[in-house]
Amino acid sequence: MTLVLVFVGAMVGAPLRYLTDRAVQIRHDSVFPWGTMTVNVVGCLVLGFLAGLGTSLPSAVAALVGTGFCGALTTYSTFSYETLRLVEQKAYLYAVMNVLISLIAGLGAVFLGYALAA
């Protein structure tokens, strides 16, 4: 049952990442990967909230929304690939900003999620 929940959650999370990335990227004229940053920060907020609920979180919800949905909504592979692309395009400032903002905003979103769950 857990396997089904993880799969179903990810089946929603991964296409939502794709659609969000498109929706964000068509709205600005820049090589900066705002789309991936958006899904990563939103996923951190949701997973932070779930983690903040602690043991009161039903295991089925953890599998469906946490492992499945949040895990698939967020991505490290696209984050690292886009950072490498920025470096190869000699957009060094963007590359550094992408890393710093992603880490700070991602961790900040986790803390905010925890606070909201408390």
Binding site: Y18, R22, A51, G71, A72, T78, S80, V110
Partner: protein, 150 residues
């Protein structure tokens, strides 16, 4: 840029092209994402994250996924359905930023800050080296001299 590296967002006509979405692409991304997430879940059972310890399972998942996306984007970067299935779907579903951030936060307790920092920056460094290695390896194997020089 991430999902469609062949689309130049500076050209309005190409940017609009990104607004159109085909159901088939969403379907393969959904299935790929589900499969990637199952693989991640399997590894998390094999190498579970325990409080106060370096989250090795998630670390390996993210570093492996970054190496593979480097390989994928050089070798199969132009395939219309295969690329979203493998890249956005499987590798996107496999790797995770949210678990990484939550695990880092959990390690930010007085005694575990060094582990938190090692995990936070160790994953970043290893992931960047892995994607670079994947790209460099496939460029060398597919012999694209112009890109190897880049």
């Amino acid at each position: 840029m991430s999902v469609d590296p062949d689309v130049d967002v500076h050209i309005p006509a190409q940017r609009r092209e990104m607004a159109r979405t085909h159901g088939g692409v969403l379907a393969v991304i959904g299935v790929g994402g589900g499969l990637g997430a199952l693989a991640r879940y399997g590894i998390s059972l094999w190498l579970p994250t325990t409080p106060g310890h370096f989250p090795l399972g998630t670390f390996l998942i993210n570093v492996l996924g970054c190496f593979l996306i480097g390989v994928l984007m050089v070798r199969w970067g132009q395939r219309p359905l295969l690329r979203p299935f493998l890249g956005v779907g499987i590798l996107g579903g496999f790797t995770t930023f949210s678990t990484y951030a939550v695990e880092t936060r959990a390690l930010l307790t007085p005694g575990d800050v060094p582990i938190a920092m090692a995990y936070l920056f160790g994953t970043l460094a290893a992931a960047m080296l892995a994607v670079l290695a994947g790209v460099a390896l496939m460029r060398a194997l597919t012999r694209k001299p112009a890109e190897v020089a880049a």
